[in-house]
Subunit: 422 residues, 2 copies
Amino acid sequence: MNIPNVEIPRIVVIGGGFGGITIAQSLRQKNAQVVLIDKNNYHTFQPLLYQVATAGLEPDSIAYPLRKLFENQPNLFFRLAEAQRIDTENNILETSIGPIDFDYLVIASGSDTNFFGMKELEKLSMTMKSVSEALDLRSYILQNFESALLTSDLEEQNSYMNFVLVGAGPTGVELAGALAELKRHVLPKDYPDLDLRRMKINLVEAADKVLPPMSKQASEKALEYLQNLGVNVWLNTTVENYDGETVTIKDGKNFKTKTLIWSAGVKGAIINGLKERAIEHGRIAVDEFNKVKGYHNIFAIGDVALMKTVQYPKGHPMVAPVANQQGAHLSNNFTKELKGQPMEPFKYFDKGSMATIGRNRAVVDLHKFRFQGTFAWLVWMFVHLISLVGFRNKIVTFFNWVYNYFIFEKGVRLIIRPYKRK
Amino acid sequence: MNIPNVEIPRIVVIGGGFGGITIAQSLRQKNAQVVLIDKNNYHTFQPLLYQVATAGLEPDSIAYPLRKLFENQPNLFFRLAEAQRIDTENNILETSIGPIDFDYLVIASGSDTNFFGMKELEKLSMTMKSVSEALDLRSYILQNFESALLTSDLEEQNSYMNFVLVGAGPTGVELAGALAELKRHVLPKDYPDLDLRRMKINLVEAADKVLPPMSKQASEKALEYLQNLGVNVWLNTTVENYDGETVTIKDGKNFKTKTLIWSAGVKGAIINGLKERAIEHGRIAVDEFNKVKGYHNIFAIGDVALMKTVQYPKGHPMVAPVANQQGAHLSNNFTKELKGQPMEPFKYFDKGSMATIGRNRAVVDLHKFRFQGTFAWLVWMFVHLISLVGFRNKIVTFFNWVYNYFIFEKGVRLIIRPYKRK
């Protein structure tokens, strides 16, 4: 991998997501060499991926070059590589560009989509976990309308204009809201030959409410907002299969659609080579110091890590703030470790959660306050804007939001690379 | 193709480039149905493609959705399709989405890269004629530096950091300038482990000057600017082959490089089905009304059209202003034709040409004035900014330019889809 060997300890970090960049930056002043690997050369701000998918933003608004992020950090070495296997005996990480030995390993590999074993559905559905998947989805949505234009068979046309989103977590809800805005403000102008009233947005959720982890108040208001926007919400509804044409529902209604968007489950992006007992519920089991069970120098943080506590017996929610806090905390613990002091246990401070549903509408659950509506929407925008990495990305995103808001437009409805379904 | 059949004449336009959108827009008030087809759903502002390739701009700055461009033009029907063959007997255009019959056909298909029959070079070189090619080039340039990092073999490292650009027309010159700026201001920060002085930019030109169609004064100044930026310019140098590792030069020096960027030739993007005598020098021969030789209702405009005149015995230059002027002129001629009046011959008004070579440096040849330097650079920026289609694209581009200028940065050095050489 051509990285200088030095006398100080080498900490290898897998993944440049929220957890990975937080710990890598926090280790800046530490007496350690940090090697960060990621399969992309950029950090992705995942909470806004749905806006890339719905033609509101280009990738440069939400992706930030990792090399730029670390350009003034001489103890950090970035390598564009995929982690393949951990050789825990010899403290070596095998990657797509060769092996690297480590003194400490931090697994911050995030999460993958969980299809719960449904192979056909996995092959034929769309997902939105990365920039390239979001671009594929954008192309595919637009291609559907181009295809709808070409047929005079009404049933086939409906199938192109029918969108089924599975999973009413923040991703599903925000995407449904954005599609509803496209339907209302943008697509009728682009496709005057199509009767856009026949475009359907179906949001399917196995639980009995949308945004399951949020408060009852937020869930109810979000449901109301979605319905006002014309989204068909199907609660207590479990998807069993999708064959590319029909979504099969457990005892019930089927949907004829060319597009199933799957955001109904995630699982840890586990790296091979760990003992079986270190894996639990599709995540990597860690103790209260984020140390992987059964190892003394391997750690896991963020989505991939399962830390069972009294307050979170099933582990922490798989969200950015947990990853950020675990990253910062583990960095402090490394300082203690390197000084020979004992590590301190991690404690999650839950600042709350929020989701937006189209323009002027959002729901916010804070520690003590809950609110919905326009003010919640402004809070949502403010929090996401300041959380974006880099001044340039904040400005570009802000401009696009202002433009889209006042012009009722989505500027980037470009099919750069047409998506071909497998 | 599912387009309503109406009593008024149908004009089918192939291509949404400068010529195609100009004529389609000019036909707005005419008593005709206009069908525009393009293989992309956007218009590409080709003069700035090199900035997409060098991480200065995202596609949304220079691509404009065609449907948006025509959203208030009820007589226009856009279809995302590729023209395949003209059935001139029956006045039918065969496309990737089925046949369409026409009363008049306007071929505005632009140009393709001309490799002059060098098959191996064609397969292994990079080009920059479309947004996706520019994105491939951006990825590939950045991937080269990631690869250079991984080897300690100096010769291999040099090969990754050696760039050979063939053709010193505006594209080659502007790209060489942008690469030189990356070398000077951006890459050393991103790759502190690499000795960027070893990055070489070679600009190879068969003629005896850079920017061959421009004035002697402009060519000389451009050469000076390029050399000041550290670009190695090789005049009177003809490339014979590239095998993926070595560029072979006719009687002379070879270059070891992983990257050959070919911008040494273009040819008309000819549509099949025309008689042989309508094709001349790789373009479609037209008369002074842009009517294709041997046909009464088929026209060609822009790059693809070869109109020999006294002033331009080899046809007009293959540049945007010719396409724009021919598009507008042909639209007026259609009005006359539909009224039963005779058409008027086309006359090109050459406003001049310009090229930029890195920050603060450009060369401008106007009708009466020639100037170079900072003022020329400001003129270049102003002309390109106002020529961009759409208010949003102007603003986004302007912001990026200001940002890149003051921060000495290129914001979008993202490898979204890694490029794999065939």
